[in-house]
């Protein structure tokens, strides 16, 4: 197994997955490296899927302490920096979109989030089944429900937040 090559191809996706799950880039990178360190020790037969399984477990262990709800929603509540030109304004829009998606993800179950994020990183149904510990034949309906829940959260969240701000 060429770990260096594997690192170059999988590390970005692993960090993306962890970042989207946890919302902290430094933690995401640390945990992605931790997954690779364990890989070197274990030498699994199917390293790519194995890395994502380990990353999902590391994220679960880490994330339960600090992540849900308040911190992510706080991102939305923060005062936005003053946009003084077109680039800054565009960045602002992107940041708001990202914060909205994070907030929507925070409303989903851990299984839904794992399914959505890992499928986005290209994992197959069989690999997803290994992560969430269900039969591969269950993945299609589970993934469909997870997608529907995310899209619903994205639709309803902005309204709820604006209602909250209005009543504050």
């Amino acid at each position: 197994m060429n770990v260096e090559r594997l690192f170059a191809s999988v590390y970005p996706g692993l960090v993306r997955f962890l970042y989207r799950r946890l919302g902290d880039r430094d933690v995401a990178e640390d945990l992605a490296q931790e997954a690779f360190i364990r890989l070197v020790d274990k030498q699994p037969a199917h390293p790519e899927g194995w890395l994502f399984v380990v990353a999902a477990n590391l994220a679960r262990d880490h994330g339960r302490r600090a992540m849900r709800g308040a911190r992510r929603l706080q991102l939305l509540a923060n005062d936005a920096p003053q946009a003084d030109d077109w680039t800054a304004e565009r960045q602002l829009v992107q940041d708001e979109q990202a914060a909205a998606v994070r907030a929507a993800l925070a409303r989903l179950s851990e299984r839904d989030v794992n399914l959505l994020l890992l499928h986005q990183e290209g994992l197959s149904y069989a690999q997803l089944a290994a992560v969430v510990e269900v039969a591969p034949s269950s993945i299609a309906p589970l993934l469909a429900r997870a997608r529907a829940r995310l899209l619903k959260a994205l639709r309803t969240l902005p309204k709820e937040l604006s209602d909250d701000r209005a009543s504050a």
Binding site: N2, V3, E4, F7, A8, Y11, P12, V15, R16, Y19, R20, R25, A28, E29, A32, Q33, F36, I37, V40, D41, Q94, Q97, A98, V101, R102, A104, L116, L117, H119, Q120, S124, Y125, S137, I139, A140, P141, L143, A144, R147, A148, L150, L151, L154
Partner: protein
């Protein structure tokens, strides 16, 4: 009577799943069934909407820096010859680091690695060196009896501290070239620090990865190489031109 495929099968088809024969069969059905085609299009639109939303939460990690940090966390085997083990830090990095080694060797002959096969890219986790040996190595570094080495992972912090102490004592002429792309690895994040002590005829040359992007050697960085020579020899080392010119970090 037309038998439509199950919804789950159409979803799996939309996600690119299924054996080739199964997919061919579904394709054939879809060609003749507008109702199922509409379903597949709706599933695809849903998938695209989710993909687009998730893509807005973007992060692009620096693979080379991540690799370097992971290497530092793993450490190197104590049984390996010091310089050979150290050299693996160059060779085991991203391909750009191997290029860097070649490029650096072209202008810095004294950094040449010993011959023989290189160790595998990633060593198994090894026990940290005994504290005494680390301190001894740092001591050797400070008094200048060891000419060149690459600190093992467990030594990085101590060696960095020793170098910073040496720099901050004010006895050395400090030259810091940070940062440039000396290893041709992309973003300019490589530093080249020279500490000249003419009164002792010692020049300490340090190549480091400016991981924390501070623009200077700091405790969060990764030391790639340390060499101590006479001042004249050290001046000859002070040619970090491989892969680019010093400049602001990108």
């Amino acid at each position: 009577m037309i038998v439509h495929p199950r919804k789950a099968a159409l979803r799996a088809y939309t996600d690119g799943e299924g054996a080739p024969a199964e997919r061919a069969e579904l394709r054939q059905h879809l060609a003749a069934c507008a109702e199922c085609r509409a379903r597949v299009e709706a599933f695809a639109a849903e998938r695209a909407a989710v993909g687009s939303a998730l893509a807005s939460v973007a992060v692009a990690p620096d693979v080379a820096a991540g690799w370097a940090r992971m290497q530092a966390r793993i450490g190197t085997p104590v049984a390996a010859p010091r310089r050979a083990a150290g050299w693996s830090w160059w060779s085991a990095g991203a391909g750009s680091l191997a290029t860097a080694a070649v490029a650096l060797l072209a202008v810095v002959p004294v950094l040449r690695a010993p011959g023989g096969p290189l160790p595998p890219p990633v060593a198994a986790p090894a026990p940290a060196p005994e504290p005494d040996s680390v301190l001894e190595r740092v001591q050797r570094l400070v008094v200048g009896r060891e000419t060149a080495f690459v600190p093992a992972a467990a030594e990085q912090r101590l060696v960095t501290a020793a170098l910073l102490a040496l720099r901050d004592r004010g006895e050395a002429e400090v030259r810091n070239l940070c940062c440039g792309d000396y290893d041709a690895g992309g973003p300019s994040d490589d530093g080249f620090l020279t500490l000249n002590r003419p009164s002792q005829d010692v020049a300490t040359v340090v190549v480091y990865e400016d991981l924390d992007k501070s623009g200077d050697l700091s405790p969060g960085d990764l030391i790639r190489f340390v060499s101590q020579r006479g001042v004249a020899e050290g001046a000859a080392l002070d040619l970090p031109v491989a892969g680019g010119t010093p400049g602001p970090q990108t």
